[in-house]
Amino acid sequence: MKRLIILACLLIGLASQALGAGQTLRRGNGADPQTLDPGRAQGVPESNILRDLFEGLVTEDACGNLIPGVAQSWSASPDGLTYTFQLRPTARWSNGDPVTAHDFVFSLRRTVDPATGSLYGAILEPITNAREIVAGKAKPDTLGIEALDAHTLVIHLHRPAPFLPGILAHQAAFPVHPSTVVRYGLDFVKPGRLVSNGAYRLKDWVMQSHVLLERNAAYWDDAHTGFDAVRFEATEDIYSELKRFRAGELDITDTVPSMQIGWVKAHLGRALHIAPYLGVYYYGLNLTREPFDDNQALRLALALAIDRDILTSKILHGGEQPAYGFVPPMPGYHGATFPEARMNREERWQKARELYAQSGYSLQRPLEVELLYNTQSDHKILAVAVAQMWQQVLGVRVRLINQEWKVFLQTRQEKRDTQVFRAGWIGDYRDPETFLSILTSWHEMNDTGYASPTYDNALEKAMMEPDATKRFALLEQAERILLQDLPVIPLFFYSSKHLVNPDLGGYRDNIMDHHLSRWMARRKPTGQEAPICSPSS
């Protein structure tokens, strides 16, 4: 009997070894992907997989910098309104077909076509007619994109957009294989049918478990692909993910539970990667009802009473940076901050109390306000801390309300019951516009009811500016107006947190938190790599 047990354990051990090791990269990927259709995908887990499966005209290096993808080169006209792309003649689909300019025309038209049901059609807005097509006011074939020949693609813009290459590296602009899409409809994404043009192709998808990719031998740069296979595990239970990493079953985790950061730093320090992440965590204020409509002093008072250093260093301690502006730090852009940011804590509190009194509240007649957040432990702790700060500094009475995610979204979008609500935004591409635009009066993400013609115009002006330096200056001005009006209270800028197997080479922390598997390989004993990306990235 005893021998039998030992034998069984041995067999099981062997089987579990065979599960993962070898030339397979095993990545924890958060939630199960919703779809693998680049035109319709929306979440971070989907994007991670799609960047391995597909390649846009532009792609990213290990540091998240934009580099030529299917397009080997491109040029912009002097007015910045026409881009011409030269496609690589060696680019191939996984079935061997050449990737052509016509494929991109087909795919981008498909993304903006409302019938496709894409959430990200709007990201292509700078392209001529994109906005009209998404709104159903123009036909998809009027989109400003044309193939001059199989390897020359021209994109026409209705306004300058120096960040266009960043958009083209987004999944919404990835190509899909036209004849497969026509033949199978939505079903073209199923294993066995999906034809892709990236470093990997789809081998299998077991829903709620994993997506398995294998090397795409037809890929033009296949010689430099490190791993033969990549397995994306659905790991929405973050504590189980941590255990699986500790058991050696994952090479990269999707995240690290913030409650465990201290323990992880002490015990898995070598594997822990914390880096700035292009995102902002903020509280939105509903400007369509009392008490925040028409009361800028009150909004500023609440913003000043929050001690962001305590939030980031004592509560989260996961590398988050206190936010006094709305746009996360990014190269070349000197974001605005609210002027009081430079004061010390006492001065800030003093100012907050003055503003509070000025807006008609006092200890005898305190402000009573509701703070709404979606059910999750980190949001709760932060809400409790902020409520405490408002209470302590100003005497505000805060009622905390939490709702399950989908209920929360509905409440927030209705703008009826909310007063203060939690929100966060991760940039789609590396440009201040992706943040500043969400508070314009016309944006779908603007749940504050903020509608300032001054702000809209300032941003509009920046959007029309062809010169990159002047454009950033104009964007900065727009951000200053935003921080003057304060429809939102920024709390901190996000950080990305991953556990990465120290034996994994080619993994680089970067602000986009994009990590294409093609850059990674099992580390050879020799050759030390620089662990951080250069600041220019």
Partner: protein, 308 residues
């Protein structure tokens, strides 16, 4: 016997109809829709999606449409996995959950009944007390406590078994989930068996058997066990159906792609059809299990067969 089965199946129809109606109403009453996202959809895109899923029709019409497709055995398209139907998802999840539940139940029954008999055999001895102490502990420690503990010991510390994940066709990833699911059941079954066994042992026909001079072992296994199994059985049937839902937690912790996980994710994502599909499935399984238990009763206790 055949008439019993037929009668039960006919009774199941109104039950299922009620189940579908109530769950349809409840699912639709929940705030937040399948397409609510942080960035509100452009109106034209939302209209296209609503039309694709017939959500633009009046609710009664949607209900009838759904009822009609269920009768034809089609549980509809999934809202979250747009390219897949609920039938696809359930077909993928059932083998995982069924294997998990059946293995766990088999293990729980085998070991549980064995321990129960042993405890009854050595009634009031140290063995009995030890077993029962272990059983009480087993019942009070739920799966969601056992599972992380197992992972910590067997996967993180000793590296014997995987901490999670699923690979079709391999056994290793199923061992810990089955154990975590089986232990509480096992403990309960052991107590149940012991209690029933002791009661049977006090009944007159056992005294008669003893008076005939039969050996204790023969009495236990041939005469006492059969009647003692009846309470175990009436527990095991619903429990097996319960494992379908009990495995929700275990599947989540171990990352197994079973029905339970689809159910949770379906509810969170407002995947209307998926939630309803799994609910209907659970209803059908419970009805079938109860029928099976009744049939097994008849096999164990011939008196019931005469009446049924």
């Amino acid at each position: 016997m055949l008439s019993l089965i037929l009668r039960r199946l006919l009774q199941a129809i109104p039950t299922l109809f009620l189940l579908i109606t109530i769950s349809f109403a409840m699912v639709r009453a929940a705030p937040g829709g399948p397409f609510s996202t942080e960035r509100a959809l452009p109106p034209e895109v939302e209209r296209a999606l609503q039309a694709r899923y017939h959500l633009d029709e009046p609710l009664p019409q949607q209900y009838l449409r759904y009822l009609g497709s269920v009768v034809r055995g089609d549980l509809g398209p999934s809202f979250r996995y747009e390219e897949y139907s609920v039938n696809d998802l359930i077909a993928q999840g059932i083998p995982v959950t069924a294997r998990l539940g059946l293995f766990a139940m088999a293990l729980a029954l085998l070991v549980g009944i064995g321990l129960g008999i042993a405890a009854a055999w050595w009634h009031h001895s140290t063995v009995d007390r030890l077993f029962m102490l272990a059983a009480v502990t087993g019942i009070s420690v739920p799966s969601f406590v056992l599972a992380p503990l197992f992972i910590l010991l067997f996967a993180v510390l000793w590296h014997w078994l995987p901490a999670g994940g699923y690979a079709p066709g391999t056994i290793a990833p199923m061992v810990l989930p089955v154990l975590a699911l089986a232990l509480p059941q096992m403990a309960y079954i052991a107590r149940l068996t012991r209690g029933a066994m002791l009661e049977v042992l006090r009944s007159p026909f056992i005294r008669t058997a003893r008076a005939k001079g039969l050996g204790m072992r023969l009495i236990l296994l041939r005469h006492a066990l059969r009647p003692a199994l009846i309470p175990v059985l009436s527990y095991a049937g619903p429990a097996l159906a319960g494992l379908l839902s009990g495995s929700v937690v275990v599947e989540q912790i171990f990352g197994l792609p079973g029905i339970g996980r689809f159910f949770i994710q379906g509810a969170l994502n407002r995947d209307y059809t998926l939630v309803m599909g799994v609910t209907i499935l659970a209803g059908v399984v419970i009805i079938l299990m109860n029928l099976l238990v009744d049939l097994a009763y008849m096999a164990l206790d011939p008196r019931l067969g005469a009446r049924g």
